[in-house]
């Protein structure tokens, strides 16, 4: 507003004082006192009019100055603050988006590896607990049967050898009979020898005619000696055979005892090994069962994480809407800078447009809560008017 507009107030005060002076002089007596009073009234009116207009002019200048400062502030908001804020929001949105995508990718890898591990564990558990035909427990049972067959075979061999040993010991009875037979042979040889001697004596008594019989008796005696030697040799051999059989049977007995001991030790060792294997596989099977049960819980956790990771999409949408709304606000501010009037309606349009762009319940809730706390949307504009009123 120009200064000339404010002098109007002064002219009004002067005109009013002129009217009052005219009324005073025309209604009252036209004397010196009334003339002085009228003049004084005109003077007072002129001074007060000048003072009022000057004061109003000064205040309006101050308001205008403040308005200029505000406009400069809005200019800065329009050109710098809003683009910076918009850029920061977009930067935060992009960074969060990138981070969540990377996180989701890594999480996907972890989840796949976990799934493979659980699957492998379940397969192993199936193999251990006998779910499959070639399970470890089944194999263990088969091994137990086969190893027991080995020990049974060893026992069978041992029994065969015992039978053979019994047969060998039975031979000693025959050797004893052979020794008796050898003694009989020796005794018969001795009898023949005696018979040959008697025959030789009788031949000698008979004279020359029995000379041939003497030769026969001598030959019989020789044969008797040979038979006696053969009987002795037979007895010696039978003794040697008996000694050998005794030695063999003694060794066989000792070996059988050792073998029996070894078979018992083998059985014990096999039982220990199988027992340890069984314990180990049982523990592994139990662990696999626990892992299998836990895998269900892990799957639930994975599901929860997938739900949680979706926050980024909502955040991204909200930030995008904020960014678009900031851009609209910037345009609104630009319009305000070029037009002194119509700001409240523009702000209301901006608010309405912002409200229509919402896609999440949170946005609508926040918007309505802020509006409730701030009063009506026109109140937002009213702060500006109130500030003006307060300043003036």
């Amino acid at each position: 507003m120009r200064k000339e507009n404010y002098t109007l107030y002064w002219w009004i005060a002067v005109a009013l004082s002129l009217v009052l002076t005219f009324v005073l002089l025309t209604t009252g007596d036209f004397n010196l006192v009334n003339a002085v009073a009228g003049t004084f009234l005109m003077g007072i009116s002129a001074v007060s009019g000048w003072w009022a207009s000057h004061r109003h002019f000064t205040r309006m200048n101050a308001v205008a100055a403040r308005h200029r400062v505000n406009s400069m502030g809005l200019e800065q908001v329009h050109h710098q603050a809003i683009p910076i804020l918009s850029g920061q929001i977009e930067s935060a949105r992009v960074q969060t988006e990138d981070a969540i995508v990377a996180l989701a990718t890594r999480f996907s890898g972890i989840a796949n590896k976990l799934e493979s591990a659980v699957e492998a564990s379940q397969n192993a558990a199936g193999e251990l607990t006998g779910g499959a035909q070639g399970s470890v427990l089944t194999m263990l049972d088969q091994s137990r049967v086969e190893l027991m067959t080995v020990t049974d075979t060893l026992k069978s061999v041992q029994q065969s050898r015992d039978a053979m040993l019994t047969d060998i010991l039975g031979l000693m009875k025959y050797t004893s009979e052979m020794r008796d037979m050898a003694a009989d042979v020796a005794a018969i040889a001795l009898q023949i020898k005696l018979l040959a001697l008697n025959a030789a004596v009788e031949a000698a008594r008979a004279g020359v005619s029995a000379k041939g019989f003497t030769v026969v008796a001598d030959e019989v005696r020789k044969l008797s000696a040979l038979s006696n030697d053969a009987g002795k040799k037979m007895a010696d051999k039978v003794g040697a055979i008996n000694a050998a059989i005794s030695t063999v049977s003694g060794a066989a007995k000792r070996s059988a005892e050792q073998d029996a001991q070894s078979v018992l030790q083998c059985e014990a060792a096999i039982q220990n090994v199988l027992s340890r294997f069984h314990d180990s596989t049982s523990r592994l099977s139990d662990s696999a069962d626990i892992l299998r049960r836990e895998s269900g819980g892990i799957r639930d956790e994975v599901s929860d994480v997938l739900v949680s990771l979706q926050f980024q999409d909502r955040v991204s949408q909200i930030l995008s809407h904020v960014r678009v709304s900031l851009e609209d606000l910037r345009m609104c501010v630009a319009q305000q800078l070029h037009q002194d009037q119509g700001a409240p309606e523009d702000i209301q349009k901006w608010l309405d447009k912002m409200a229509q762009s919402y896609s999440t319940e949170e946005q609508r809730r926040v918007h309505s809560e802020v509006q409730r706390n701030s009063g009506s949307s026109s109140d937002v504009v009213y702060f500006g008017e109130a500030a003006w009123q307060k300043q003036s």
């Binding site: 988006e97 989701a104 997938l306 739900v307 926050f311 999409d313 909502r314 991204s316 896609s359 999440t360």
Partner: protein, 122 residues
């Protein structure tokens, strides 16, 4: 052979999350970042189901579904709308456009997989 599902969403992270959920259930997943991209990827791919966001740049989800239903090859392809918007008016819009289901984010994978197995073409 694994069935193919197309996920249309402008959010990389959400596409990733949906991809993980569907891949773990044995589905083959094709991704598109908006309606235009999705229409471009329809040709040459046998798609048994589409999961689509609503608010997207270039072409929004409702417009995409309308365009999809104009294509003879995909006229009967079921569409699940996956969006943060739970407004009844929007849901009506989606139904009129031809969508078969409306899931509000964030979704639970089990819930999504149940909807997929119910609607997916044989």
């Amino acid at each position: 052979m694994a069935k193919t599902i197309m996920i249309v969403d402008d959010s990389d992270s959400l596409r990733q999350v949906v991809n993980i959920a569907l891949s773990s259930a044995g589905y083959h997943v094709i991704e598109a970042c908006d309606g235009v991209d999705a229409l471009g990827k329809l040709d040459g791919n046998k798609i048994q189901l589409i999961i689509c966001d609503v608010n997207m740049p270039n072409m929004d989800g409702i417009t995409f579904v309308k365009a999809l239903k104009q294509l003879p090859a995909h006229k009967f392809t079921p569409v699940i709308m996956l969006t943060t918007d739970g407004h009844e008016a929007k849901k009506q819009e989606g139904q009129v456009a031809g969508a078969k289901a409306w899931v509000v984010k964030p979704f639970k994978p089990a819930q999504m997989l149940a909807a997929v197995s119910k609607l997916i073409l044989p």
